[in-house]
Symmetry: C2
Subunit: 246 residues, 2 copies
């Protein structure tokens, strides 16, 4: 069965967390809105009003046969179980879901640095507020979240030979590791000065990012036209005035 | 086994979604931080640095024997399966999780009306921004979310006799219905003028709220000292200047 992913075609956004899982799994999928126009579905924002019992409030959503699944972390919960991207025991599955939901909180805070008043207004119309919010995000929230990931990696059960090359949920890669890769890549794009200052204290986070990047399928995906470049319409935006080393 | 819930003792907050599920289930639980001082755990905010492989980034978290589960929607996913507060089939379980995650998004937006710049600053230090954010939340976001719930209830499979008394996931109550009750109660507290204007178009949402409120265990809980009153330290706050009929 071919999965159908519905998401904005111009940005990585929240859809990217799903794309990375599908790519790592080698799953058969269509990124529907990026297909030639003739194949396009009704505008994404209309799904909220779409017929059917399970409309999504917002993209992304994934269609698998009769099943329509919305909310990024929920889609990953579904894919993780099917493609060996999450532990098979309940405690492990819940732990990976917990990490993913914490990543979702972090990603939203990163988004709100440039949209603290409303997603429906332009950045230029909320710039003073964005400057204020970004300063506190950089100073407090970035280290709080990133050090939490660092500690988890530090405590995770080690791989063979006791090497440090473990993942967030232990010896096996999960979708949460793919998402953490995306967060590090996004923060490096949006806040290069701040990340440069923080990274020396985050050796495990940086190493885990690098190991994801080098996985054969992820590496092939990142080099392909399927990977959309970071840009100033997405979640992670490079606005010089919002970045600083502290 | 007695569940232990860890959450701030002075507010409903995100912990309330868990409390409502535990109460409806008639589950044996201790609200740890509300116990007499001698029984208190280490300060909640320290859990992030707590020993153990699965620290929570923030409260609430639930302890069930050896299992420590964080993130509200994740806790509810766990409790729902154990206490018949979610469908037993995978599609139904995912759908209820999807609704709950959308409620989490809505609740965070409600919170950020009074804290658009940072959770670590006082409301008084971000009041102009709060006024701006609240106006757009009232005008756009409240109807968008609330009408989505209304449509779901409209389409949900009907109960016996084809009555309108269905729940978000169909004929049986789920934890998402308890959470929607809490959202309606909270919005009525924080935005009474705006809710008065919106409610005539939300008959099913209002009716579902009322049916939750009248359930024997919920009704007993709401009348007990275990239910903390809404206040200006929680998510839903009544600041007169942030409310209006439009």
């Amino acid at each position: 069965m071919t999965y159908k992913l519905y998401y904005w075609p111009e940005i990585q956004g929240r859809g990217e967390f799903v794309r990375l899982a599908l790519e790592e799994a080698g799953a058969d999928y269509v990124d529907v809105e990026r297909e030639p126009k003739s194949k396009r579905a009704a505008p994404l924002y209309k799904n909220r009003e779409a017929p059917g019992a399970h409309p999504s409030f917002a993209p992304p959503y994934l269609v698998d046969g009769d099943l329509v699944i919305g909310q990024t972390a929920n889609i990953l919960l579904y894919l993780g179980a099917r493609h060996d991207l999450a532990p098979s025991d309940e405690a492990g599955r819940l732990w990976v879901n917990q990490i993913q939901l914490t990543i979702a909180d972090f990603v939203l805070e990163a988004h709100d640095t440039h949209h603290p008043i409303a997603g429906s207004l332009y950045y230029e119309d909320q710039k003073p507020e964005a400057l204020r919010r970004s300063a506190i995000f950089r100073r407090d929230r970035m280290p709080e979240y990133l050090r939490w990931f660092e500690r988890i990696l530090e405590r995770a059960p080690k791989g063979p030979g006791g090497s440090d090359a473990s993942w967030l949920a232990g010896a096996h890669l999960s979708y949460a590791d793919l998402s953490l890769f995306q967060v590090v890549a996004g923060l490096r794009y949006a806040f290069p000065k701040r990340m440069k200052a923080l990274e020396p204290d985050l050796p495990r986070v940086v190493a885990a990012h690098d190991r994801v990047k080098e996985r054969p399928r992820i590496s092939a995906y990142l080099a392909s036209p399927r990977r959309i470049a970071f840009n100033e319409m997405g979640i992670f935006r490079r606005y010089r005035e919002l970045d600083a080393k502290d």
